[in-house]
């Protein structure tokens, strides 16, 4: 083996090793970070107004995009569903199709993706900028724990907001489906609501959707606060942390959705 080949091999092995150990280190650091957030949660909840403020920023201010998206997704779902169901003479089943698709999957998943893009990126950018401008260091020097004062309220604000946003997304989607299916296409309103009432169970359909949205909320919020806290204190560092939040959160939502779906709906029907 020539010296050049040996050198190149050694270089790539070093890079691979560095990448693997870096990833393991980051995983350990993020786990410790999560434990620190949970440890500081009682202190954060003692001043509940901090968490409620974050519910407002992450949840209430995301309402427009969530409701509008829900409405349009429901409308499209209704159009596409009707075209398919009509072929089998089952167009009156439209209500159940729209409701199950939204409550089980699309509600939690799309609301989660939108939440990651809108609120997750904002949380990362805010914490990253606080780090860059030494606001977190100033807090530490004032003997105020930034995990308790800044991170935990934002984490829990996201965790609380996400199931509510997903529920509203599904509700508006079902309404959008109603507008297109009943008002525009002309399906019987009684059939639309009646099939939905008969075919959608609170357990497992609605409950599992709520569990999914709660898990997505926790995952996105953790990724957002961690990336912000871990961001390099430069403009470029904050920008890349914000991008990472959206990318990692989106992939995490889709991967978690698959895993949870396997366990939740295996043999359910």
């Amino acid at each position: 083996m020539s010296a050049d080949v040996a050198g190149a091999l050694s270089y790539w092995l070093r890079r691979l090793g560095g990448g693997v150990t870096g990833a393991i280190g980051q995983l350990g650091y993020s786990t410790r970070f999560l434990l620190a957030v949970l440890w500081q949660t009682p202190a954060a909840f003692r001043r509940i107004h901090l968490t409620l403020r974050e519910v407002y920023f992450a949840g209430v201010l995301s309402l427009v995009i969530i409701l509008m998206s829900g409405l349009f997704v429901g409308m499209v779902l209704s159009l596409q569903g009707y075209e398919t169901l009509k072929r089998y003479g089952a167009d009156e089943q439209l209500g159940i199709l729209v409701a199950l698709a939204l409550v089980r999957e699309l509600g939690p998943v799309i609301a989660g993706l939108l939440f990651a893009s809108r609120a997750g990126s904002a949380i990362t950018a805010e914490i990253g900028l606080m780090k860059t401008t030494e606001q977190l260091a100033a807090m530490e020097m004032m003997a105020v724990n930034p995990i308790a004062r800044v991170v935990a309220p934002r984490f829990w604000g996201g965790v609380i907001s996400m199931p509510l946003l997903a529920a509203l997304f599904s509700a508006f989607g079902i309404f959008g489906g109603y507008v297109v299916g009943v008002r525009l296409i002309g399906i019987d309103a009684g059939a639309y609501w009646g099939q939905m009432h008969a075919g959608v169970d609170f357990w497992p359909d609605v409950t599992n959707g709520i569990i999914k949205s709660f898990v997505f909320g926790a995952a996105v919020s953790l990724i957002a606060v961690f990336e912000g806290f871990d961001a390099k204190p430069t403009a470029e560092g904050v920008a890349s942390a914000t991008t990472r939040t959206v990318v990692i959160s989106s992939l995490a939502i889709l991967a978690l959705d698959f895993v949870m779906t396997v366990f939740m709906f295996r043999g359910a029907r």
């Binding site: 030494e134 606001q135 100033a138 530490e140 004032m142 003997a143 004062r149």
Partner: protein, 289 residues
């Protein structure tokens, strides 16, 4: 309801006696402190004493390790060796709870103020009071206005940090740093980027507040002219070592090459103009050969 400052001694964590500040000890003592990031040494055996009630400047070129000294005193970094004592307490040996308790006696002015951008000037100064005391809101209001009056910005209480000039932000940060009447105030480049008027105002405020509140001040700066006007003692740091020290009079009269370069603002000297590099001639003619 009588106002109380928390935590009072009776409610302090167990073992408080072991980390209570000694009133007679020097405010800050560093002995043979070394520190580095990975293999890169930053401080190489720093020894300095900062007496109570004095203003001491730590001067040096950018990257010489000045701010690292402040971070070590603040307990944000741990030294690789040596001792750091604040009020008789060994800072690196304090557990997190004790360290946070000690930091309540600190005030720190960051280079660009580090004001909380989502809070008004008033809220910024009230922040440490609300976090660490159970004072009634009326008293907090009065205290905040007193602090703002001391820095001449009572009229700016309602402004947001984004509406302040650099000098005003620095003064607000100074008011916040003294909000809890600290024992020790650390200033990280307090004069950087200020216009001459703001520079003079901030310099005089540091001196006045130090004397009026009987606090101890550590000023990290590279502004020789302003520092010589207000400080009691100066340490010069270069490449992680203390290379000179003295009172302002001694510094002015010094013939030490480093001090002279610093005071005179000479571009070349013990601190070289050029970053270490191979021979200029060799590099230019490398292709010719």
């Amino acid at each position: 309801m009588s106002p109380t400052v928390k935590p009072p001694a009776s409610r302090a964590p167990a073992g408080i006696a072991t980390w209570r500040v000694e009133p007679e000890a020097a405010a800050v003592e560093l002995a043979d402190v070394t520190f580095g990031y990975d293999a890169r040494p930053v401080l190489k055996g720093i020894t300095m004493t900062i007496p109570r009630g004095k203003i001491v400047a730590i001067m040096g070129a950018s990257g010489s390790g000045k701010t690292t000294i402040l971070r070590l005193i603040g307990g944000q970094l741990r030294p690789q060796s040596g001792t750091i004592r604040v009020g008789g307490l060994s800072v690196p040996d304090l557990d997190p709870e004790a360290l946070y308790h000690l930091r309540r006696k600190y005030g720190m002015l960051f280079q660009f103020g580090a004001l909380f951008t989502d809070m008004s000037v008033f809220e910024n100064i009230a922040f440490p009071m609300r976090e660490h005391t159970e004072l009634p809101e009326e008293l907090i209001r009065d205290l905040v206005l007193m602090k703002l009056q001391a820095v001449g910005l009572r009229g700016a209480a309602h402004l947001m940090p984004a509406e302040l000039s650099g000098g005003m932000a620095r003064r607000v940060a100074l008011a916040r740093a003294i909000a809890l009447d600290p024992m020790l105030v650390m200033y990280d480049e307090p004069f950087a980027g200020l216009d001459p008027i703001s520079l003079g105002v901030v310099g005089q405020l540091i001196r006045r507040l130090n004397d009026a509140l009987s606090i101890t001040s550590v000023v990290v700066t590279h502004d020789v002219y302003e520092s010589l006007k207000i400080v009691d003692y100066l340490y010069f740091v270069s490449e992680g070592r203390i290379v000179a020290s003295g009172t302002p009079q001694e510094v002015r009269a010094s013939s030490d090459a480093f001090v002279r370069q610093f005071v005179d603002g000479a571009p070349d000297g013990p601190v070289p103009f050029h970053y270490p590099a191979p021979s200029y001639r060799d590099e230019l003619f490398a292709d010719v050969r």
